[in-house]
């Protein structure tokens, strides 16, 4: 799917942000009669929650991050809270209230950690909100979310589009460097090394960039190349394996 990297107003998003924005716009501008649910999935650390934060701030989407202990009633209460409405009555009353509120507000609902919603049996409630209010619903979750959704046939049939969060590319790495290592000039090889070392995980790339900034501040040298860095260690990327005996 093609994404626009220019969202106007000087906004330069990471590519996964642009992907989620495209998905949100697709469900919002869908033709009459088409289903309005979408799925954004990917491995942890790729920036799915950052992308959701962008949509909440810039596109006025409602972002709900489902947690393991949540019930259906609590989910409805949270949606009503986001809408600024006071929850009244039983779960069914709240469902009606949420449908009405969402339909009037016309704000796309982003359900983060949708895996939990599926496991806790809330997914049909979310489908009901989509059907009842007509607003777009984007489910954000782990890599295998689309396959997991196959078990909920009625939801699977309402998915308009799927998109995957991708590993950070060179442009994303440079953008992250502007934020996590401001004032440091990197050569392309150094950025590429950090990106490859972390398999394109935005979370780990950010951690390494912040570490490089620390080292640059200590050394007072703000030009960092791959040659200059040499074999210097980065923060630990993997949990340490158990050591042998002390002796």
């Amino acid at each position: 799917m093609a994404q626009s990297m220019n969202l106007g107003n000087g906004v330069r998003p990471l590519s996964n942000v642009a992907r989620l924005v495209t998905l949100v716009e697709r469900v919002e501008k869908r033709a009459f009669g088409l289903p309005g649910m979408a799925v954004f999935h990917g491995f942890p650390g790729l920036g799915k929650t950052f992308a959701s934060a962008f949509c909440a701030a810039q596109l006025d989407c409602i972002h709900i991050s489902v947690q393991e202990e949540w019930t259906r009633k609590f989910l409805l209460k949270q949606i009503l809270r986001e809408l600024g409405l006071t929850a009244r009555g039983q779960t069914a009353d709240m469902g009606m209230q949420a449908n009405e509120g969402l339909a009037i507000a016309g704000r796309t609902l982003i359900i983060d950690e949708a895996d939990y919603a599926l496991k806790k049996g809330m997914i049909n409630l979310i489908r009901g909100l989509h059907d009842g209010s007509g607003v777009g619903v984007v489910l954000v979750g782990m890599e295998d979310l689309p396959q997991m959704l196959k078990s909920a046939e009625q939801v699977d049939g309402r998915i308009l589009s799927w998109d995957q969060a991708e590993a950070a590319d060179t442009r994303d790495t440079a953008l992250l460097a502007e934020h996590y290592a401001p004032g440091v000039s990197f050569d392309e090889a150094m950025l590429d090394r950090i990106r490859k070392r972390n398999n394109g995980s935005a979370r780990y790339i950010s951690r390494d960039l912040a570490y490089v900034l620390e080292q640059c501040q200590i050394q007072g040298d703000f030009l960092m190349t791959a040659d200059k860095w040499g074999d210097a260690p980065f923060p630990r990327a993997q949990a340490p394996v158990p050591r042998g005996a002390l002796a």
């Binding site: 330069r12 990471l14 701030a57 810039q58 600024g84 509120g101 934020h179 200590i218």
Partner: protein
């Protein structure tokens, strides 16, 4: 926004009506503190609006009844304008990320040019002072590490905003005796 159709008949009613339409929810105490007219006038006016089904009880905060003049549509559009402010957008990012640095707040907004790092830092400071945030990692300016915060008090979709008001302090009782405006 569909606010009820009502035309105030005098200056006191105009002031009370302006207050009611500016706030999504309020208590009778808020209303009385917002104007200079007598409590009797406020009670007479609110009784009139309640008879006309314009002023409605919306929920209770403990023993205190809250009132509103907004229906669902009005309440929803009331929040939209507040969410679209600078602080509204930063608050939305903070609520989504939960743990963040001011730079991450900016990054979460895609590097929105109208909001600077100084804006994000100032907003974080205000929220920290009001105990909405907790520092989870102290700033180390010598190595360029910014402070990392956690949002510990998520009160809802509308952003807390800093306001300045005139306060009358009575040194005899050593406490604030009066604050300009009922709802700060």
């Amino acid at each position: 926004m569909s606010l009820p159709d009502y035309t105030p008949i005098d200056a006191a009613e105009r002031a009370l009506w302006a207050f009611m339409t500016r706030h999504q929810r309020f208590t009778m105490a808020d209303l009385k503190a917002s104007v200079t007219c007598s409590d009797y006038k406020v009670e007479k006016f609110t009784a009139k609006l309640r008879r006309k089904n314009i002023l409605l009880p919306c929920r209770r905060d403990g023993a205190t009844q809250l009132f509103t003049v907004m229906d669902t549509a009005a309440a929803l559009s009331f929040g939209k304008a507040k969410r679209e402010t600078k602080s509204g957008m930063m608050w939305a990012v903070m609520r989504t990320l939960r743990t963040f640095t001011p730079r991450e707040v900016l990054l979460g907004m895609g590097g929105e040019e109208t909001i600077t790092l100084a804006d994000a830092e100032k907003y974080c400071t205000h929220l920290l002072q009001a105990q909405y945030l907790r520092v989870v990692e102290k700033a180390k300016p010598d190595i360029g590490r910014p402070a990392r915060y956690r949002l510990v008090k998520d009160t809802g979709a509308l952003p807390p905003v800093r306001k300045q008001r005139a306060v009358l302090i009575d040194p005899n009782e050593d406490r604030g005796g009066w604050v300009s405006g009922a709802l700060l």
